[in-house]
Symmetry: C2
Subunit: 234 residues, 2 copies
DNA sequence: TTTCCGATAGGACATATGTCCTTTTGCTGC
DNA sequence: GCAGCAAAAGGACATATGTCCTATCGGAAA
């Protein structure tokens, strides 16, 4: 993770993400820009955060650990998303691991700074409420859907979420996506490696994906969307 | 549902639940006391709420509907719990059904009243944030646990949550609990009637519960607690 | 009382997923 | 090139759970 105090860049990111009316100017002035590279951990379960962060560029992957030591994918998020909002006020330990997908930028504000300058700022407090509400709302949806569909569908959603953003030049072409290891992917999806393997085998059989050196290749994206139903890891 | 404007009662409930510092006096003055009887619906999925409610006495059952029409138990809550906090600010449609368990009391404040008097009140806004954070936090826990344990364990949790509060006179005695129908209970637990039946059969076999006219009888509460693990429908 | 229906109970079988193992494959260090 | 390892692929079997059916049972309606 790289830190920056580049006022100009920060100001621009604040504006582009509509954060100008939310934070007190002094708070914006105290913000730090944090740049993470692919797969870097932004925060891990059990951490006590020193502040709040706002994702302003790139994408994050959120997953959680179960008591039995396994992990399970929760969701992907896009700007502007708050990280540490749940833990901020009540000082909870971090509940989910947050990991960068590709290069990402987050704005960081220290806890003290917020406590000092924003606790009486309705705009900020309302912003927090809106964000928490939204998380709870989507959370509810996704929980239900998670229980509703078998792995095949969740896996399809996962692949779609990982696909690089559509760029015109590549449309139609089979897209690739790396996976650290299939074992890790299985963990993220909350299943066993064995089972994931079975599902991949089936999809390979059907020509939807293709096993490939160190990853998978998506052959039939539309079929994948069909399988993913409406369910999206957002 | 019965409405009351009994100032004295309302004032007492506000104080007993620590809400005095949270709401503006004028808001408290405008509160309405709503009394629900067992199994009455407080709000249903899709509703647009006209205000915020605070559970101040009794217990609520929260469940959700899945796209396929089935329902699934989410949790039970105890005072002081906010109802409608998620939907309040962003005007979301209600995401979960809320139902009274036994006689319950909620304080109601209209949306307009809040918008007019509390949007700039840091104490209130912070209160909302604390509540939303807490919901998100416990929500996360329960989601994970939900996926971790098989029905037998979730069922045990459910029975424990339904048991009437411990009263000294009845300790040691087998406790009864009505269930509307087993079919409904299955829905709440997010499983099929058939499967629930199987699990009950097993537990009956083991002498943990006993089938009974219109309900079940808990014979071995300690074993039930064992099965429920740490997982609790709170 | 007789009939009928919703609620129960449970059989038979299929699918989703987990656990334990074995084999194959492709790199990597020697 | 060869031994050795971690990841990948997949066989065998067990458990959790779903779907479809059938049979009972007890109370409500006729």
């Amino acid at each position: 993770m790289e830190r920056s105090r580049d006022r100009h860049a920060i100001q621009e990111l604040v504006e582009r993400n509509g954060l100008l009316p939310v934070f007190h100017p002094e708070v914006i002035a105290a913000m730090e820009l944090r740049i993470y590279t692919d797969r870097e951990i932004v925060c891990a379960i059990g951490d006590y955060l020193e502040g709040l962060q706002v994702l302003v560029k790139g994408r994050l992957k959120i997953h959680t650990s179960l008591p039995n030591g396994k992990t399970m994918l929760l969701r992907f998020t896009e700007p502007p998303t708050l990280i540490g909002d749940v833990e901020w006020m009540a000082r909870y330990p971090v509940g989910n691991t947050v990991e960068a997908v590709g290069a990402t930028m987050l704005l960081f504000v220290s806890r003290e700074c917020l406590l000092e300058k924003e606790m009486d700022n309705p705009a900020f407090l309302q912003f927090m409420i809106r964000n928490l509400s939204h998380k709870l709302f989507t959370n509810g949806q996704s929980t239900a859907l998670n229980r509703l569909y078998p792995l095949e569908n969740r896996f399809a959603s996962y692949l779609l979420a990982l696909l690089p953003d559509q760029d015109p030049a590549s449309s139609g072409r089979a897209r690739e996506l790396r996976t650290s290891t299939l074992g890790e992917m299985a963990e993220l999806l909350g299943t066993s490696y064995r089972h994931l393997n079975r599902v991949i085998a089936r999809l390979t059989q059907e020509g939807v994906v293709e096993r490939k050196r160190g990853g998978l290749r998506v052959l039939d994206e539309s079929r994948l969307r069909e399988l993913a139903h409406n369910h999206r890891y957002i």
